[in-house]
């Protein structure tokens, strides 16, 4: 799932009330997982909310709504930021960062973040890859491609470093991407 598709999705309680909509994603674990979401109010003139939604309170990340039990699921935004920071920083905003392999090849620029929910409720929301605007190195300059990520990676505001072998698992679309991530991570695991 692309995170750009999650933004603006309504946050709805099991009682059927919409308490807000997703504004931004708060990353935890060094950018490797989703720690929670900041929220905006619903409606034309609604601004950002002071409350945020930690990932552990999300019952389901659906295609049309993010489900929560009730309004108690929300926490002060600062607490969600702090909790995510304590697990290795928010990772900052990666959109626009250049993806470099550990051998120094520029693969392209991050345009979107791909996440996947592992396991049912209580499961993690993993960052599994990036959609990048490919560079010359990938042979399709300017086209959008999916690049899988290892469980952990190094990121500064400027660069993201991925293993050189990641380029062997680049996919054109989301359909084949899940398998590519698995194959890539299996290969990395085998090498250690």
């Amino acid at each position: 799932m692309r995170t750009s598709e999650i933004a603006k999705r309504p946050v709805v309680t099991l009682g059927g009330e919409d308490v807000g909509q997703i504004k931004d994603i708060v990353y935890s674990a060094g950018g490797g997982a989703v720690g929670g979401f900041t929220l905006a109010g619903r409606g034309l003139f609604a601004g950002p909310l002071k409350q945020a939604l930690p990932w552990r309170s999300v019952l389901a990340l659906g295609s049309d709504a993010v489900m929560i039990a009730d309004e108690d699921a929300l926490e002060p935004a600062q607490e969600v930021f702090d909790a995510s920071a304590s697990t290795g920083g928010s990772g900052g905003n990666v959109l626009g960062s250049a993806v470099l392999t550990d051998t120094g090849t520029d693969l392209g620029t991050v345009r979107d973040v791909i996440v996947e929910v592992s396991g049912a409720h209580e499961g993690q929301c993993d960052v599994v890859g990036y959609e990048i605007e490919a560079s010359q190195a990938l042979g399709h300059k300017g086209t959008r491609m999916m690049i899988p990520l290892p469980d952990t990676l190094a990121a500064s505001g400027e660069h993201l470093i991925v293993p050189a072998s990641a380029r062997d698992f680049v996919a054109d679309d989301l359909a084949g991407f899940g398998a590519a991530v698995e194959a890539f991570r299996a290969q990395l695991g085998g090498r250690d």
Binding site: G16, G62, D64, A65
Partner: protein
């Protein structure tokens, strides 16, 4: 029986044989998945008939024993009155966050008042799956 069939049905008092009002709406309690009360219009004594005070929900009329059965809404009914708690016309979300359609009609059991089926513009959802009814959506348990 469906909400659409029962709308407008007259409410008749069996003690005086008078028509005391007309069914104008349904107050559903999602926690019990039953019709808690009927909204009644054209009645003098109030606009709510609690399901417990319904004599029988017949094919041609709803009967009540006492003509003072139609009352003003009490706190429990008030909390579930209004369009925020209405099912018909509202979008349906599963607990997985997927939209299933819009409620077009609701089927209920005339004896107990139990909600047995939500009829959507695409498909149907069993009444037992009803979880909540709010201003944004009707929430049903995912299959």
């Amino acid at each position: 029986m469906r909400f659409s069939e029962a709308m407008g049905r007259k409410v008749v008092s069996t003690s005086t044989a008078d028509t005391v009002g007309k069914v104008d709406g349904f107050v559903v309690d999602p926690s019990t998945r039953t019709v808690l009360a009927l909204e009644v219009h054209k009645a003098e004594s109030g606009d709510v008939l609690r399901w417990a005070d319904v004599g029988s929900f017949g094919v041609d009329a709803v009967t009540v024993v006492a003509d003072d059965a139609i009352t003003e809404a009490d706190d429990q009914v008030t909390a579930l009155l209004g369009k925020d708690h209405r099912l018909v016309g509202k979008r349906v979300l599963s607990t997985e966050g997927d939209e299933l359609g819009k409620v077009e009609d609701v089927e209920f059991e005339p004896g107990s008042g139990a909600v047995t089926l939500l009829v959507l513009d695409r498909g149907e959802v069993a009444g037992v799956r009803l979880r909540g009814v709010g201003s944004y959506a009707v929430v049903v348990t995912a299959e």
